[in-house]
């Protein structure tokens, strides 16, 4: 029996690991990429916005981490296959996948077109499915006990405000994807978990097409903890699932909503 205390720095050390963060050119993804880089991971910044991805990667490098930009349009199978294969080739493997990329086009139920529904399914659910599939192939083939972390939404569990029928249906799909993938991949030591952010203002969300969110709704959305979520709150939760200390945690949902759903 030794009296040595657990090394917290080791429990969160991602040195020598390669992480992909999708949608990392801005917002939550960018912050997640920065957190993982800060923990020592080599980070592939994958985004449909190439200049944004380059800039996010450059920032990581300037900060003393290692980042590299990759093109990704996750609504296209070829693009996902190429990105994952290229990361494995360039960076020597794949240990962590963070499925963060998504869009939040809003529309009330009765005005939701098939086109909008299909677009959200393609980007927010089929895209992450493809990323999980490709990552799982690489991790299994390489014998990597990898980590997959999907960004879902608290709205997948409970409606928050109007206009998110199609969006939250994709996020509920992400939850099922998470648990089923976790079930299939457990034998290979690969964990799959989800982070469910509450209201977390980001650039992408502000830009999303749809009815404006009125003042009353914004007041209603203030969680019991008294402030809106930040990308850093989400990145911290992702880091927990990615870290060596969480190797026995799989198929879990971590809601980061300031207590919103607990009111």
């Amino acid at each position: 029996m030794t009296n040595e205390l657990p090394r917290i720095d080791k429990l969160y050390d991602l040195s020598g690991q390669v992480a992909i963060v999708t949608g990392a050119a801005e917002g939550m993804g960018r912050e997640i990429a920065r957190y993982l880089a800060a923990a020592g991971a080599d980070v592939a910044v994958a985004d449909i916005n190439r200049p944004g991805a380059e800039q996010a990667a450059a920032e990581i490098n300037e900060g003393g981490g290692r980042g590299r930009a990759y093109d990704l349009d996750q609504s296209k199978e070829d693009s996902v296959v190429d990105m994952v294969s290229a990361v494995r080739r360039d960076m020597g493997g794949l240990h962590i996948l963070v499925n963060n990329a998504g869009i939040q086009d809003r529309e009330v139920l009765e005005n939701t077109s098939v086109a909008l529904w299909d677009k959200l399914q393609a980007v927010n659910l089929r895209g992450p499915f493809l990323c999980v599939r490709e990552a799982a192939r690489v991790m299994r083939a390489d014998g990597t006990r990898g980590r997959i972390i999907n960004i879902s939404s608290m709205g997948s569990l409970h409606p928050i405000f109007e206009g998110l029928v199609a969006y939250n249906a994709t996020k509920a799909g992400i939850n099922a994807l998470t648990r089923n993938a976790a079930f299939e991949l457990a034998a290979d030591g690969i964990t799959v978990n989800a982070v469910l952010p509450g209201a977390t203002p980001t650039e992408g969300q502000a830009r999303a097409p749809g009815p404006p969110v009125d003042e009353e709704t914004i007041r209603h959305m203030m969680p019991p903890l008294g402030r809106a979520g930040t990308p850093g709150d989400i990145a911290n939760a992702v880091l927990f699932f990615a870290a060596p200390g969480a190797s026995h945690v799989t198929a879990q949902f971590l809601v980061v909503d300031g207590g919103h759903l607990n009111r």
Binding site: E77, D78, V81, D82, V84, S85, A86, R88, R89, D90, E134, R137, V138, A141, D142, G143
Partner: protein, 275 residues
């Protein structure tokens, strides 16, 4: 000796500096890797079984002083050909050997599940097609290179117990002949090796220990098969081994198929080329 080095130089010029070998962990694929390494080509070794690839890569580096890259992946999965191409996109690939194959022998068409057949179709059709498509473009731009598709005598006609395998090999043979007609004039060689039974671990495993060899057509050893295949690669579009039903007529059938492709090329010109 001098001739050998001149030959090796010419071989490297046409098919180097990198070869990609699908299904390289044992048997015919391993033998392709050994002979290509001996000719001075760097080898990308592709298969599901990483430990076997690592062992082979180490031996090739030690024996031939070439570079290697290991690519552990399952070539029977959807979009695997695409994954393969991206994984080697930073290399100058001059030769692709489509050797990985799924052979589900002895099962009647209805007794095998559709899932089994679809996996075989992925492995034998989709993946090599995607890989040839992805790798040929750069070869054509360079005006040199080679595509070598491992085929089988069953491509030449139906056979019970191997229906989907035979049909997939027929696809491979016809695809190779068509690519040959298109690529040969542009400097890229294409060959489908219409192989007999090859004495490999997979074959022995497939038939079981108690198989009665005397009832089978003659088997060829992997080293002999690979030597002949690489010799025939500049000729194309197919080389039929004299075995089984083709035993006495392989040369004639090979010639006839080539003549047919040449005649069909003329017809295609008349059909598709604007005067």
């Amino acid at each position: 000796m001098k001739d050998d080095s001149r030959n090796a130089e010419a071989f490297q010029k046409q098919y180097g500096p990198w070869a990609v070998i699908g299904g390289a962990s044992d048997g015919t694929g391993e033998e392709f890797a050994r002979q290509l390494a001996a000719k001075g080509l760097n080898c990308v070794l592709v298969s599901r079984r990483r430990p076997m690839l690592e062992k082979l890569a180490g031996e090739l580096r030690d024996e031939s002083g070439i570079e290697t890259r290991i690519l552990a992946m399952d070539l029977s999965l959807a979009a695997a050909g695409r994954q393969l191409c991206t994984a080697v996109a930073d290399l100058e690939v001059g030769l692709f050997v489509a050797n990985a194959g799924a052979g589900i022998g002895g099962l009647s068409f209805v007794d095998g599940s559709l899932e089994q057949w679809q996996t075989a179709v992925n492995m034998n059709i989709h993946t090599p097609m995607e890989a040839c498509h992805g790798l040929a473009e750069a070869m054509l731009e360079r005006g040199r290179g080679g595509l070598l598709l491992m085929g089988s005598g069953v491509a030449l006609g139906g056979q019970p117990g191997v229906a989907v395998y035979a049909a997939s090999k027929a696809f491979s043979l016809t695809l190779a002949e068509s690519m040959w007609a298109e690529f040969k004039p542009r400097g890229v060689d294409v060959l489908n090796v219409v192989a007999p039974l090859i004495n490999t671990p997979k074959l022995r495993q497939g038939f079981g220990e108690d198989m009665d060899v005397s009832r089978l057509p003659a088997m060829v050893e992997p080293d002999e098969l690979v030597r002949i295949a690489l010799e025939q690669l500049p000729e194309g579009p197919c080389y039929i081994f004299p075995a089984g039903p083709e035993e006495g007529i392989a040369g004639e059938v090979t010639e006839r198929r080539r003549a047919r492709v040449e005649a069909a090329t003329e017809i295609a010109r008349a059909m598709f080329e604007k005067s």
